[in-house]
């Protein structure tokens, strides 16, 4: 029987990768992801995990090695963060187009400058369109479960796409939580051996990643878009089977006390736990407030989100990044697109909070709900507002 133990989330994720029997791990350490790859290098060195740990010279090399090992048919894992993820960027576009099912846990962190090692979502939002399936974890248990789920979904031949599991830097990566690590037999039953449709094999040579001339490129990209959109069916089924195997249920969009809620907060990642506390407090005070949390970011679960939040009068969307010069944050923009010109759809107000490690407290959520309530009566001048920003 799997036991629930107090463990640092990064270590638990590394243990999940061990349980998933990753075969090649090219990785470069970066705060706050370090403990994940550090622990993996230890379990490979001491023989607990029969894998090749490649201590590469940079994240660009890490992702390049990931492409090579995945193309050769090895179960491949890496992990990164912030500047490191950006250094990978050039290579990140390649595995989805080449159908290479790499699993990458990203410990979300702000981007320089000014230098910040602390948590927000800017690092992943600048990689929004790389074509990877992307999920966001709320707590340590979910980080472990989504990592296992990622291997299962990525390597399914109907998908065969890389997956990024986002975990908030420090607030998840460095926190010790009670986490249930599943038994090896259960993980083996959930994640079958990796059998790629095509692999690099000198006995049967093929070319991966050829030139896509203008007469071909549009069709290649169209197919890629269709493949990630169709992956949702497999993602949902794998969550359903996860619940059957491990007893924990996951959905692309989660709701908390949204029944008849007029105002719904919309969050991604670990701030959702604070948001639930804030919702409880505001409900106690008689306010009609609920919470909608997006777990599956790419492919975006449009129908599921509409079902979860479509009846709200107001959505207060929180972005953990401030894209300079944009109309609003990426989550806000996504939801505005989703509900555009749909009769009776909620009014959407976009907020930016929790940049570079700034805490998003219960009081901040209360402030956001109060402001959204006001904006529903009198439209604000801007399409977003930065919360908790000091002027002088």
């Amino acid at each position: 029987m799997a036991k629930r133990v107090g463990v640092e989330v990064s270590i638990a994720i590394a243990e999940a990768v061990k349980l998933a029997k990753a075969e090649v791990i090219p990785a470069y350490p970066i705060t706050p992801q370090t403990h994940i790859v550090e622990h993996l290098s230890e379990v490979v060195a001491n023989g607990e995990l029969d894998a090749e740990f490649i201590p590469v010279e940079s994240e660009h090399a890490a992702m390049s090695a990931c492409c090579g090992s995945s193309a050769a048919g090895a179960r491949t894992f890496t992990s990164s963060s912030s500047q490191g993820l950006s250094l990978m960027s050039e290579v990140l576009y390649i595995p989805p187009a080449m159908r290479l099912p790499i699993v990458n846990v990203v410990a979300n962190r702000a981007m320089s400058a000014p230098i910040s090692i602390w948590n927000d979502h800017q690092d992943i939002m600048v990689q929004r369109d790389i074509g990877w399936i992307q999920t966001f974890a709320e707590n340590g248990q979910e980080a472990v479960d989504l990592t296992l789920h990622a291997f299962r979904v990525a390597e399914d031949r109907r998908v065969s796409l890389p997956i990024i599991v986002n975990i908030d830097g420090f607030t998840l990566s460095h926190v010790i939580e009670p986490i249930e690590l599943p038994d090896q037999e259960d993980v083996d039953a959930y994640i079958p051996p990796f059998k790629p449709k095509y692999k690099l094999d000198p006995r049967k040579p093929i070319t991966m990643g050829p030139v896509g001339i203008p007469e071909v490129y549009t069709e290649a990209k169209m197919l890629q878009d269709q493949v990630i959109k169709n992956s949702k069916k497999v993602i949902l089924k794998a969550w359903k089977e996860f619940a059957e195997q491990f007893g924990r249920e996951y959905n692309p969009v989660e709701t908390y006390r949204t029944e008849d809620a007029e105002i719904m907060l919309v969050t991604m990642g670990s701030i959702s736990e604070t948001a639930m506390t804030a919702v409880d407090k505001m409900r106690d005070a008689g306010k009609s407030v609920g919470l909608v949390r997006i777990r599956l970011w790419r492919p975006f679960p449009g129908p599921e989100f509409r079902k979860a939040a479509g009846k709200a009068k107001v959505l207060a969307v929180i972005d953990r990044t401030l894209p300079p010069g944009a109309l609003c944050g990426p989550v806000g923009a996504e939801l505005r697109s989703l509900f555009y010109k749909i009769p009776g759809s909620p009014k959407i107000f976009s907020f930016v909070a929790g940049l570079g490690g700034r805490d998003v407290t219960v009081a901040r959520f209360e402030e956001i709900v109060e402001k959204a309530t006001g904006y529903a009566k009198k439209r604000p001048k801007e399409l977003y507002e930065v919360i908790g920003v000091r002027e002088k």
């Binding site: 080449m98 159908r99 065969s160 449709k197 093929i206 896509g212 001339i213 203008p214 007469e215 197919l223």
Partner: protein, 97 residues
Amino acid sequence: MAVNDAIVGWKTITWGCHVLEPGNSAEFRTGDWRSQRPVVDKEKCIKCGMCWIFCPDMAYSQDDEGYYEADMEYCKGCGICAHECPKDAISMVAEEG
């Protein structure tokens, strides 16, 4: 100017855009944007094969008499052969039109 419409459908394109048959680059004619062509002076040529060795596209092959000649389907007119020829037997001539 020719319009570069699709030559394959998104439903029929190969999985991951892989090329599943090896050795097919020979089918891709690449010499049509050359601005210069190499011309070999057989009076000077000593059949040493330096052009054949250095050609980055393996465009050169030997004829029945042992002279080297570049295949204009693949030669891109880079001029490396002319540069490397120890007898200055190869000159680069502008393509007409």
